[in-house]
Subunit: 476 residues, 2 copies
């Protein structure tokens, strides 16, 4: 049995066999979906389809058994029915396979003694054969550097954010959401029931994985309380570790049992565990990705004082409320700084040089940039935020707004390179059709330029609040 | 002075003069923006541009004074500098104008004695002249049935949701957001400083306005505590009244003072006022629109028991947690109902007939519809929710998902017409480019079909929680 401290072999197999690839048209031919996913994503190694019926698929030979495959097989993806899995494990052991990912469901997660018995049996056989198991009942691995993906649409660019997920759907959601916002992943593990390798094993591994800088996890529960606590503590000491622990309601806990058999445990106990371990607790999938974005894109701030610049009195009030309630400080701007800012403009008329700073009209890029650099050079804030509320400009036509957004984008990209303090962007209020299209383009361009951009005031506030609190704690 | 119980005359002027329309190119020519907004939106009456310089604009005569306009002028939009406004009021009084909307800023909202003096003066002159004032320092009115809009992009279709806003930007945001989701407006009032007509006047009016079925308001504060409480109580007794009261933090309260001079008041006192009056308190702009959507589209539920149907174990846990925490009950499904549901399908394999119900695979429209109608006929839930998580289907290609969404849409539209219980939809998880485009199309089609669709689990939970709590209280 391998040391779980190094699970690199899972993420860089040279050859993969896919058990359960049928060449018959069938909408539940999941083996074929894995095959298509890997080939279209561009897995660089050899792929072998396996099915007792034999035959051909997409010009590839379907092997009747793993044992018939010529040469070494490093990894198996199994989409075969549960009753055939013990035999697959034995054959894999004979072939010196190192790991099997069981997409196959019908094990411990169903309320059925036979399922539980089968799960125990495959784990037992795998242990004896020196094979590690991912799952069962999961979508498996996404690792751009290893050419692994369970969906051909997944982003090819890799990054430094890892995710452990007790839900394949939530993992897929995060991969799509993250990569659309400039969060690129090192490894995403949809771990299912975690019958062999579990959340603690993956945490141990990711804590020391040089490719991973930030760890996220969607957890429904854990079976190894104290071991998990140790693993979490180690991980959180090494890297920002963001946990979405669900099953916090009675109904949610019951849904979790049906889903992955995870026992959710008391939410208060979990709060204590996460806090003591130094992990960051996220309240939703969206928030977990928002916090990861902050860590991915922003340098550590020196404190929690934030200065906000944008246009719109109503937006300023919303920003001030939400950022304050999230634990961020909006210090009053000193007279000295206020006069310095006023000198950027010809007059104060129509502008509010408080915090948030409301420029009221859209300014020339030079003046906007001068405002930012004046704040950047001051000692009165640790973090800068620009907010752009597209649908707020009540009197302005869509065409004019398009020009503005172009200018804003230029300016933000330029500013982000030149400012010393961390700079985050809130691009919000873009429901109209024209502004929605514009915002999605702008968000994508900002993501590519390495800028942390949030899609609403409440979401930006929650994420930046937890981001700065983490750094405050680390400095304390 | 007119009775504020009937402000209909504000929303259906036959003629509008716009003071401050310049025919010189100037990016701050806001009078021209109002002119373009009204003409392009399709205001059916006469529009007269006014400017002391005279001349022509877009083929229209620019009158040197309101007094020079031939015939009656019902309404004036003023975009002239503050110092000239007292004279405008006097001239308007001579012309028997009934109301002036002052877009003009530089009055009570600036920290300046002259501004405050000017504001008192125009209000005094208006009172003597029998003129009502909207503003100053605001974007004014949007009323589709009167052909009024301050932006030509605004939706032409009118509806039954009203909004009072102490921020023009937030009003514009809500108009774009609402109409993109099937929330159509009766009247939106960007009221600015509210120096004459204020939030209480508008509440009084909307409470008895037959065009208005649901009232929303973005408030930074009020100057007439007890009168406001009475107005709110009357409004909330008559119609669902959803209030976003901001300035709840020290920074937010200060930003509110700079913005509209509104004194925010203690948040605890506001909580008490809103609760006693029977109003619904929203926590954000997004939530205010989400709650309005629920009231606009859903019939009153008989209670707070919710049954959720969709695909995805992880999504089920998130839904169960968020809906429970929002105060909704997710009752356990009885054995009788469970067996009835199982009979819809050939077997239970891969499905979870708990609540949320996880169908695991996408089913035929017939089976999905049968599941819904079985729940609809049961006595075990008061509200039904379908959730569709596009990016969750980890193994499925974008093309296949497109087909699914088409089928889902058909089914949801069909179901919504046939079910007795209220049905809400959560369409979530669509960050990938293909799914984002698909979701926006689907959300738009659902909006047009009169379906309440929410863009994320947390937002659906918060809105439906407040929606059912309102009905619970009304029944108690």
């Amino acid at each position: 049995m391998q040391n779980t401290d190094n699970l690199d072999f899972l993420f860089h197999p040279r050859t993969i066999a896919i058990a359960g690839v049928s060449n018959k048209a069938n909408k539940f031919n999941f083996g074929l979906k894995f095959l298509e996913g890997l080939t279209q994503y561009g897995f660089p190694g050899k792929i072998y389809p396996v099915n007792p019926t034999g035959g051909k698929i997409k010009g590839m030979t379907i092997y009747r058994s793993v044992k018939d495959i010529p040469g070494q097989v490093d990894f198996i993806i199994s989409a075969i029915p549960a009753p055939y899995t013990p035999q697959l494990v034995d054959e894999a052991a004979e072939k010196d396979v190192r790991a099997i990912h069981f997409f196959t469901s019908g094990f411990g997660e169903i309320e059925d003694d036979e399922g539980r018995r089968l799960q125990a049996e495959i784990i037992d056989r795998a242990k004896r054969g020196g094979i590690r198991i991912i799952g069962p009942n999961c979508l498996g691995l996404y690792c751009p550097s290893g050419g692994l993906a369970f969906n051909s649409d997944f982003e090819k660019t890799g990054g430094s954010v890892a995710m452990i997920s007790q839900s394949g759907g939530n993992a897929a959601h995060c991969i799509h959401d993250g990569t659309s916002r400039g969060i690129y992943f090192s490894k995403v593990i949809s771990m299912g029931n975690g019958a062999d390798l579990n959340e603690s094993d993956y945490l141990d591994y990711l804590a020391q994985d040089p490719e991973t800088r930030i760890i996220t996890a969607y957890l429904e529960g854990t079976r190894q309380g104290s071991r998990f606590f140790e693993a979490l503590k180690t991980a959180a000491r090494a890297k920002p570790t963001i946990i979405l622990k669900v099953g916090t309601s009675e109904s949610g806990a019951e849904a979790a049992v049906s889903h992955t058999t995870a026992l959710s445990g008391s939410d208060q106990i979990w709060n204590g565990i996460l806090q003591q371990a130094g992990a960051i607790r996220a309240g939703s999938i969206e928030e977990m990705m928002d916090i990861a974005l902050a860590f991915e894109k922003l340098p550590a701030p020196a404190g929690n004082r934030i200065a906000i610049v944008g246009i719109g009195g109503g937006a300023s009030v919303l920003l001030a409320d939400d950022f304050s309630h999230a634990g961020l400080a909006l210090p009053k701007i000193s007279d000295t700084l206020r006069h310095r800012l006023m000198r950027v403009f010809s007059s104060e008329a129509g502008r509010i040089f408080k915090n948030p700073i409301d420029l009221n009209h859209f300014e020339t890029p030079e003046k906007f940039f001068k405002t930012l650099s004046t704040l950047d050079q001051s000692d009165e804030a640790d973090l800068l935020v620009i907010h752009v509320a597209l649908d707020h400009f009540g009197l302005v036509s869509s065409q004019e707004k398009e020009l503005w957004v172009e200018t804003y984008l230029q300016l933000i990209t330029q500013a982000q390179k030149q400012l010393v303090k961390p700079l985050a962007v809130v691009l919000h209020s873009y429901s109209s059709k024209a502004m929605n299209a514009l915002a999605h383009k702008a968000l994508k361009e900002m993501a590519q330029a390495g800028i942390a951009a949030f899609p609403s005031i409440p979401r930006a506030a929650a994420a930046l609040g937890k981001f700065t609190r983490y750094h405050d704690r680390r400095m304390a």
